[in-house]
């Protein structure tokens, strides 16, 4: 199937007083038409930076796109000017943020915030846009949409705000929707509502979705494919089944083992990942996961593993898959 988005060898750094923080260090992934890709990882692993870089929302400086490309429908977004990006944002690519309160304009009626992009991008008349905005609010399950369109964001509850956010993001029928931790700030029952809504809307519109999350449950529920990020790099990528049932990177395996499952015995100890992620001000030379990995080898200390094909477009960056590591790999596979 056709790739709607291709991220190639992307490097992003932040310049701080203490030096250069290499937040994203050469990542590759693609998003196909109509699929949902999850990007998972711990805070500081670069997942949000990656998402925001697709929209080019990061201020430069301190952000610097060091190298690589972000190809959206074949065009490199990193080469686009701010003006060209404004045409793409909200029209071809929509975005949902974690905290709807900070991403909605508090001084503008919710309906206006939707009509604005319809008028700007789709060239609708004010009347048409208003009608369409109410239609959109209805579509995302906001009751009394004609009344709600005339209200300000603060009059909405958290779940309603997130719905409004989705309505705005989907107003121009974007080809790609980026959802950056869309449900982290919400309660479980509201999260369930929003996730159902996103699935429903995707079935209707055929939009591709990138969902950034740290919740593996959300990934299992929503995604076709998964990109596991660690310390600014891709540790493993594959289909949701490959990642959950045959994880090939000790980090992925560790993540899966550290969450309790409802079928676990009570008080059966969880298997946490020891330690904390490395400081990206001074990224390690070898494998970034070395200091926390229970399968670590001498080679991991000094040599960085590359993403290797595991079969079926499943890739992992780990020395365990090197032919010389065969006896270590047995322990891992168990």
């Amino acid at each position: 199937m056709e790739n709607i988005l291709e991220v190639r060898d992307l490097h992003i750094s932040f310049h701080t007083y203490a030096g250069e923080v290499k937040a994203v260090r050469g990542i590759n992934f693609e998003v196909k038409k109509g699929e949902t890709v999850g990007i998972v990882g711990e805070s500081g692993c670069g997942k949000s930076v990656t998402a925001q870089s697709i929209m080019k929302l990061l201020p430069q400086p301190p952000t610097q796109y060091k190298q690589g490309s972000i190809l959206f429908s074949g065009q490199d977004l990193l080469k686009k000017s701010e003006k060209e990006m404004q045409k793409i944002r909200g029209n071809d690519i929509g975005m949902i943020f974690q905290d709807p309160m900070t991403s909605l304009n508090p001084t503008m009626k919710t309906g206006r915030q939707i009509t604005e992009s319809l008028i700007k991008h789709q060239g609708m008349s004010a009347g048409e846009a208003h009608k369409q905005a109410i239609e959109l609010l209805k579509m995302v399950g906001i009751p009394q949409p004609d009344k709600r369109a005339n209200q300000y964001p603060h009059e909405f509850s958290g779940g309603m705000r997130q719905r409004a956010m989705i309505a705005i993001a989907l107003a121009c029928r974007p080809k790609l929707l980026i959802a950056d931790e869309p449900t982290t700030a919400l309660d479980v029952t509201i999260q369930a509502q929003i996730l159902e809504l996103m699935k429903e809307l995707q079935a209707k519109t055929g939009t591709s979705i990138i969902i950034i999350t740290h919740d593996l449950g959300v990934v299992a529920d929503m995604c076709d494919r998964v990109v596991v990020m660690y310390a600014g790099e891709v540790a493993e990528t594959g289909t949701v089944d490959q990642i959950f049932y045959q994880p090939q990177h000790p980090y992925t395996k560790g993540l899966l083992k550290s969450v309790p499952r409802l079928d676990m015995r009570r008080n059966e100890p969880l298997a946490p990942i020891i330690g904390t992620p490395p400081d990206l001000l001074h990224p390690p030379v070898g494998c970034p996961f070395f200091a926390r990995c229970e399968y670590a080898m001498e080679v991991c200390r000094s040599h960085k593993p590359e993403l290797e094909e595991m079969g079926g477009n499943h890739q992992a960056a780990c020395w365990l898959h090197h032919p010389l590591a065969s006896n270590r790999k047995e322990g891992f596979a168990q």
Binding site: I274, G275, F290, M297, E298, V299, C300, R301, K304, H322
Partner: protein, 309 residues
């Protein structure tokens, strides 16, 4: 990319010591105030301000002693002299040495500034602290009282004070602080209201700490930053206010001098062309204002948690 050829089977032996550094912290330890000082030092303008203040203080201490003249000795044979090797800043209309008087005036002006700031600080912290800590009705009443006080026209109050107490250093300081503590009290109250709901304050309560302990250990240390900025900015305001009052003739009486009274005295000889008599005290007032303001601004930036990281 690593060339494959360099890899040997030996390199694939397991390691076990990789966890040992799991809880190690790489960055060097730095205390809050050391960190603030580090950021303040990077602000060149603030450092210029700091150096100027130190020089001013030093000169206020030794300045009156080095010229060999006293601030009060009148010498009508050498009045209104231009700055020269004899009199570095010239003499005034009564023939007093301006250099000595400037540094003597610096003592008075700086003293007024620091005293006013200190009194504002003490009153403001106590009043604002109680208001914020007690909260509810007590807070409401205390803040209304402060607002009413703040509403009284300032000059009117000062003139009244002068009439009642007569001119003098004490009167000036009281005039300076009678409403000056209110902004400080408001600042402290806001900080306290915010801090007392912090989880670490709850944690201290849960550990059995009483109000006094929480105030001393948690609230005051955490309000020190903004308070210090405010104090730093109060000093020049007070110096300037004193200069204004002195210039209007409401200052401290002769023979003692502050920069404001010197500027006032200079008005007479301005008519006969002795601009330097006004210029010199004016310059030092401006310099002090500038130094304290840039230092205060620098401190504000250095203390701002949003600039941390």
């Amino acid at each position: 990319m690593q060339p494959e050829t360099r890899l040997t089977a030996d390199m694939f032996r397991p390691v076990t010591d990789n966890f040992k550094d799991a809880e190690t912290i790489g960055r060097p330890s730095i205390s809050y105030w050391a960190d603030v000082w580090r950021r303040l030092r990077m602000n060149k303008l603030a450092m210029v301000g700091l150096v100027v203040i130190i020089l001013l203080v030093l000169m206020a201490i030794i300045g009156p002693m080095i010229s060999g003249y006293t601030y009060y000795k009148q010498d009508f044979t050498s009045k209104n002299l231009q700055p020269s090797a004899e009199h570095w800043f010239g003499t005034d209309s009564s023939g007093r040495d301006m250099f000595t008087r400037i540094w003597f005036g610096a003592r008075i002006s700086l003293f007024i500034g620091v005293a006013a700031a200190f009194i504002d600080f003490v009153l403001g912290v106590i009043y604002g602290g109680i208001s914020g800590l007690k909260g509810g009705r007590v807070d409401n009443i205390m803040m209304r009282i402060a607002e009413v006080l703040y509403g009284i026209p300032y000059l009117l109050m000062v003139i009244l004070l002068m009439v009642v107490m007569g001119p003098g250093l004490l009167t000036i300081i009281i005039a300076m602080t009678i409403t000056g503590w209110i902004p400080m009290a408001r600042l402290v109250r806001g900080q306290v209201l915010q801090l007392k709901e912090q989880e670490y304050v709850h944690a201290a309560t849960a550990l059995g700490a009483d109000t006094k302990w929480i105030l001393m250990k948690h609230i005051i240390p955490n309000t020190m930053g903004p308070i210090l900025v405010n104090v730093t900015l109060t000093v020049p305001t007070a110096i300037f206010a004193e200069a204004t009052l002195s210039f209007l003739g409401l200052g401290i009486p002769a023979p003692r001098a502050s920069w404001g009274t010197m500027a006032n005295d200079a008005l007479v000889s301005l008519l006969i062309g002795n601009v330097y008599q006004l210029f010199i005290p004016g310059f030092f007032i401006s310099l002090t204002m500038f130094a304290f303001n840039v230092l205060g601004d620098g401190m504000r930036d250095a203390l701002d948690p949003r600039m941390r990281k």
